[in-house]
Symmetry: C2
């Protein structure tokens, strides 16, 4: 019933080997033979069985993308970027949404071990444990948002040679979180703010750690004092932003500005602030991170850092292609540039004007 390669071969009067070559675009086949085969393929409506092909070639043509949660609009855009290059190379994207249960992340690696996926892009950005590093060692993997961290942070029990070893012995793509946040602080200080709260993500996320570093450095650089009680930890959600703002309001700390680790946290915070009678930006300024589509539509429109989401995906997939191709044995680390988008959530004029 299902026509197979041998049928095509018979119809065209050639061998299956030749049909296979034509389909693989082998330049060694004579043009005339090629036409005969193509005609037969067309005539018989032949569609190669990818199950057989994949089995033979030991490749699933699937790549796995693990995200913390697809509910964060950052990831769909990145995935689009990944898809766009994946499709060009005939890969399908399998989605691994771990709903922020990072323990389940490693379970997805099974897909590689059993050949159900040829490579993985891990976008989940928790602090890598030794177990994690051990697990991905040697696998065709690209890490997103996990940048270099010194070994001492890993609490390793054995530091054989005392050298300053770094964990990203894996290919990674990232944005310059530290610098981006410094830009935010620069901007805020320029507007007259000196007391800036930070609604961060979870403590154990590398992104949180890096953005905190940027926050600190930005403050110091601008001669502001760094006050740990101005740092709040959430979980990236609107809800967290809302709760954290409430907490801030209770605290008696009276920052004139808040920097939030992502736009969703900002949206939640804005709601709480407004509900408590604060005007934005007049009473308090706020700036987000990511520049999701919504940022433009909230009231007031959100000043934020735009990171190149689609490109992030493109780069990640291109890197993975290299890795799967064996091209990149050692690490390769891509760092993408972000930039500040100034809207209305911190006022366009110098504070106090």
């Amino acid at each position: 019933m299902m026509t197979k390669m041998i049928d095509v071969a018979n119809f065209a009067g050639v061998s299956t080997a030749t049909v296979s070559r034509v389909l693989a675009n082998d330049p060694k086949v004579k043009e005339k033979t090629k036409q005969k085969v193509l005609k037969a393929v067309d005539e018989l409506n032949y569609i190669p069985n990818s199950l057989a092909r994949n089995f033979r070639k030991r490749s699933s043509k699937n790549i796995l993308v693990v995200v913390p949660t697809i509910a964060n609009p950052l990831y769909p855009t990145i995935i689009s970027g990944i898809q766009s290059v994946a499709r060009e190379h005939n890969y399908q994207v399998i989605l691994g949404d771990i709903s922020r249960n990072f323990e389940t992340e490693l379970a997805y690696l099974e897909l590689i071990r059993d050949k159900a996926a040829d490579g993985v892009i891990l976008l989940a950005a928790e602090l890598p444990t030794e177990e994690f590093i051990e697990a991905i060692k040697g696998l065709p993997v690209v890490l997103g948002y996990r940048n270099t961290v010194k070994e001492e942070n890993l609490h390793s029990t054995e530091d054989k040679r005392g050298e300053n070893k770094r964990i990203n012995i894996f290919p990674t793509v990232n944005i310059n979180n530290v610098k981006s946040v410094e830009c935010v602080i620069d901007h805020l200080v320029q507007l007259g703010h000196k007391k800036i709260a930070f609604f961060n993500g979870p403590k154990n996320s590398i992104v949180s750690i890096d953005r905190l570093k940027g926050y600190k450095q930005g403050l110091v650089k601008n001669g502001c004092s760094f006050e740990p009680e101005l740092i709040y930890y959430g979980d990236w959600t609107m809800n967290a932003g809302y709760e954290l703002a409430l907490e801030l309001l209770q605290s008696g700390n009276d920052p004139t500005a808040i920097f939030t680790v992502n736009d969703e946290t900002a949206v939640g915070a804005i709601k709480a602030l407004k509900e408590n009678g604060l005007r934005i930006p007049e009473d308090i300024a706020i700036v987000g991170f990511d520049n999701i589509e919504l940022a433009k539509f909230v009231d007031p429109p959100l000043t934020t850092i735009a990171q190149p989401k689609f490109e992030f995906g493109v780069h990640a997939m291109e890197l993975l292609l290299k890795v799967m191709n064996g091209e990149t044995i050692s690490q390769e680390n891509i760092v993408l540039e972000s930039h500040l988008i100034i809207r209305e959530s911190c006022g366009s004029k110098i504070k106090g004007d």
Copy 2:
């Protein structure tokens, strides 16, 4: 290097058939043999090659989910639902994001023809063409958001027997769009609104068509006049909502309320309305559809229809499982209930109070 079944068999002193049976949990194997095999599997660190298995079983264990755009937060939630049951049955979900280019939808069906996917859930909700129907006929497919449409709408050239044929000879899952919108209109009329604009989706979307029907019926039922110039067509995005609201403002039509086809359209409209000095709900009421997470966080919090997104995915996948299992030859149509969530975007009191 990679240990394979024969190695396990040798190690355990049995045949590959037995190993295969143990792995398939065949109850016919003696407990003792089973233990021996399991021990060998463990000892040798054996992981079955799913490529070989899939080839042999003629199944990819992939299911494809085609969405209009993953950027609409509705779909991630549905996909989560799909995943949750897919995973239980050892299926992986392949994501097909067509970025609203509905012409590309059919291209994804290739994945079934070449066995790269065992089944498809099509969530893209354009008006089905005859070509579309022809293309999916006989395939293991479940349609989401495409409900019954009479044949005359299809502009078929031949209506052999004049019978009232319906197109959903395919299994579908849907929500009751018509009734849901009627509820919205009821609510609005109860609040005193008589002139209600409708920011719809694209004309050729079934969802748009159904919601328009609900809008009309709701108006008629409540003794309001249906005015076609109060209907605006967009493309589901915040941007569309924004533009449409601007258009409405220019038009001189002065509705006291707007119903938008989805929450994102509502968010865009709210921005435009506010920018033009209108207060919501005092000057104009607005209600959305979907109840995405954001709905609660916009200012004012959005009254909207909550549809069971996760369950939608669960039902779709369960249906697909049946279809792939050959259980459902004829159609099966699941209709899920939605309900109105009252927040603040149309005021809690009777208009004029």
